[in-house]
Symmetry: C2
Subunit: 332 residues, 2 copies
């Protein structure tokens, strides 16, 4: 009887098609085991690419890190599986959770994105306030035009969702001296927000926004939340930022208002189809900045994920409730 | 004998060719007098455009706000003149001060730019760290490419000059969690800088910089300070920002390193010739963002200038030394 004998099988499932920063590489895993030596000794680990060794791994796996877990007959194929960790914060691609046995816990990666999201929101807010889309266009045309803008200090930002990303946006706004109105499901007060309202108050606060930042997860409740009518509620000259998910917002309605020059501009980091097709009109929409889904992801992403997994594994061993358990009804 | 009779003649001299935000308009002046009623009653004010009424105004003016004061025979033409206020912070265009009678005080507008400079530096630092020049180019080419970058937190910034603009840059860096090394003439410690070194230590600190921000005024000491040899001291992947004056930096050397891909990128807000000529190669230099001298100027600039002038006028009336007196040797 030795405590050093691996007691659990962890399977890491990864995909070559995803950007390299999301690869669950052996190299990064080995680095992580050096940071968590004692915990790592309790594990037998397999790493699979593009489901090549998925079936045999499932047969003995206790835990799995996998953003695209198999949905058919999971319990039959993975008799010992009790915990799945995703690499992403958003689990909208896995809903509804009818495929997920009740006794398998699903945890997401929320918390990994806040620091980068904060800096990205700082940048996006200031780029819009400084009318960078026009300045950039002028550079392309070798055209010098003094576009002078006031500091952003004192302008109001409405932040949809106030989780990991939303609080990052909130910290950014506070650093810029901006009043923050957060819109959340609960409406519960938060130290980073001057005011928190429930989602049903959205129509009242949208017209107050100098800037809107969308950070909510995509769920049944948030899909289509910023529909055409609500995009119309944005005041003249408002700036718009989306670092959450694209189906929350009617981009066509948004683009129409941008083309008419009614809005200050938009920074969009997420799109229905990614990569955005070269033929998309959004690339050329006036005052719209297309970012390639980079605003919340640190290249050290997987290192952080591994650290978080070990943190949770220690909780598991101590019989504590895991962190980041996804609510199957709410979808985050 | 009435205290309400104007005792002093203030002449405002302005130019139509400058951007409108710098115009010393009657409208803005009237607004300012409402904020400073008692002081304004002591003044007779004339406003001249493009020197059209300059000569007769000089004959009786006690004070003048003028960024391009006449340099020939000033004492003869303006026998009562005792104080000139410029609209800009930099007075490099007025040097050397051989034309300025010893008994005329020259004050500049330093202090008006810090708030905007802070936000501009925040934005420029984050745009470089996020490799926005590449992301922008990709958008132009309808090309989706996930360029992932770490947060800027913890990277070192070297700030040249630590006056109004430099401290704005310092506040920006501190908000981003960046260690700050300031390079100043005195080397005197400052709460916003982790370290302050004298200019003669420049060669030692430049290689440590992840980012360099140039904020110094243009003086005999700073002209050509960042020459070709010093640009070569910037480490691979360093970012470069200039919100000060262009002749401080060898832009050709900088552009060469940018073209070779040796640097992260540059945000340049100032150029030798402004407007930058459409034929300039800087518009197309790789990873170089051309900003049209907008980083430190708030559109409420002249309002702030008038408020500052009244603040100083009150000091004058009370026999106190004026603020922002330009040192004729140092040039700022």
């Amino acid at each position: 009887m030795s405590a050093r004998k691996p007691q659990y099988h962890l399977h890491l499932e990864t995909g070559r098609k995803r950007p390299a920063i999301f690869h669950l590489t052996e190299e990064k895993w080995i680095e992580a085991t050096k940071r968590h030596r004692l915990l790592a000794k309790k594990l037998k680990v397999t790493i699979g690419w593009d489901n090549e060794i998925l079936e045999q791994s499932l047969q003995s796996a206790d835990f799995m890190i996998n953003s695209f877990p198999p949905k058919n007959d999971l319990r039959l194929r993975a008799p010992r599986l009790q915990w799945i960790q995703t690499t992403s914060a958003g689990v909208d691609g896995l809903m509804p959770f009818t495929w997920l046995p009740k006794d398998i816990v699903l945890t997401n990666n929320t918390g990994a994105h806040g620091a980068k999201a904060e800096e990205s929101c700082l940048m996006a807010l200031l780029m819009l306030q400084s009318r960078m889309p026009e300045v950039i266009k002028n550079q392309q045309n070798h055209h010098w035009q003094g576009i002078f803008t006031t500091p952003i200090h004192g302008k109001t930002v409405v932040i949809l969702g106030f989780g990991d990303l939303g609080q990052g946006a909130g910290r950014a706004a506070k650093k810029l001296g901006m009043p923050v109105i957060a819109v959340t499901r609960s409406g519960k007060a938060h130290r980073l927000a001057d005011k928190v309202v429930k989602t049903n108050q959205l129509d009242k606060v949208l017209p107050k926004a100098d800037f809107v930042i969308v950070t909510t997860p995509l769920t049944a409740e948030t899909r289509g939340l910023l529909n055409k009518e609500r995009i119309q509620l944005l005041k003249e000259g408002a700036g718009f930022i989306n670092i959450g998910r694209s189906p929350i917002v009617d981009y066509v309605a948004l683009a129409n208002r941008l083309q008419k020059g009614e809005l200050l501009g938009a920074v969009l980091d997420v799109f229905d189809q990614e990569p955005l097709a070269p033929t998309s009109t959004f690339w050329e929409t006036q005052n719209l900045m297309v970012l390639p889904h980079i605003s919340c992801d640190d290249p050290r992403y997987i290192d952080h994920l591994y650290d978080f997994w070990f943190f949770n594994f220690e909780r598991f061993l101590n019989g504590k409730k895991l962190k980041n358990i996804v609510d199957r009804q709410l979808g985050y």
